[in-house]
Symmetry: none
Subunit: 137 residues, 2 copies
DNA sequence: GCGAAAATCATACCTTCGGGTGATAGGGTT
DNA sequence: AACCCTATCACCCGAAGGTATGATTTTCGC
């Protein structure tokens, strides 16, 4: 968590400096208005995509009744559940690692825990079992 | 689809006009740089959120009756479909081979065909894709 | 603050999977 | 008969996945 906050802070700082620099450049007429607008546009579009992604992948429990209970009963952690969702979407360990900003080894560890808790030994089985238990949509 | 395109065009036109108007206002010093940047930022952030939402939401076919049609369209054979069902149930190649009384090599061949027809490269992806297309329950 | 649980990463080893290629055989079409 | 599709099987190789073990760092409840 601290790492995340640090990253945010760093990104914000870099962004602020960049904006400041751009305004300066702009002030002394080294940049055209078009370029300035373009960079702004691209930057904020990227930010928007990111924010949108954060927002839209929120709680979407279709059937909360079984979902939460079974999840608690099996003691499946938040991270494990994230991995489970990506797993069901058909991602490889590598892809999951990249998306969650962790090492593939970490993904493997989470998967091993999931397999143990779901009492399975393969990813396809895990997906099938999770669907049976209504853990995922 | 045509409606979507029309909406896109309309939105783009409105955006362009707005930008043009803003630049004009800006040129005649009715607006401050800060306000201009802010409007740009908000606008493109919203655009980003929207685009991100469009991109990240998966394809969803709601109709449960497309089963046969899609199957025919993809030219998935009977044996391949049997394999697909077992695959979704989480079986290994070995298990599928035993259950269908064929060699694991045969299963692999069927799987390869399935992957090609579903345009995927892993079993979990195949299951995910098949579910999207309502090929399986 | 302390201890338990969760999250992170690594290394090593083995199994399973996927891609590529090629071969044989039967059923149906033209 | 010639042809195509499906089904069957084999072999090789490299990539991906799973198991085991151990270690460190974060997070969180008490």
């Amino acid at each position: 968590m601290k790492k995340t906050i640090l990253l945010y802070a760093l990104a914000l700082a870099v962004g602020a400096v960049l904006l400041q620099w751009m305004e300066h450049q702009y002030a002394i007429r080294l940049m055209s208005t078009e370029l300035y607008v373009m960079v702004l546009a691209v930057g904020f579009t990227v930010l928007g995509v990111w924010v949108g992604h954060r927002l839209t992948r929120g709680p979407r429990a279709a059937d909360p009744t079984v979902n939460r209970k079974a999840l608690d009963a099996l003691k499946i952690s938040d991270k494990e559940y994230e991995v489970l969702e990506l797993l069901a979407a058909g991602h490889s360990n590598r892809e999951m690692a990249d998306r969650l900003f962790v090492s593939p080894n970490t993904i493997k560890t989470h998967l091993a825990s999931l397999y143990r808790k779901l009492e399975v030994s393969r990813r396809t089985q895990a997906v099938s079992r999770a669907r049976e238990l209504n853990l995922i949509v």
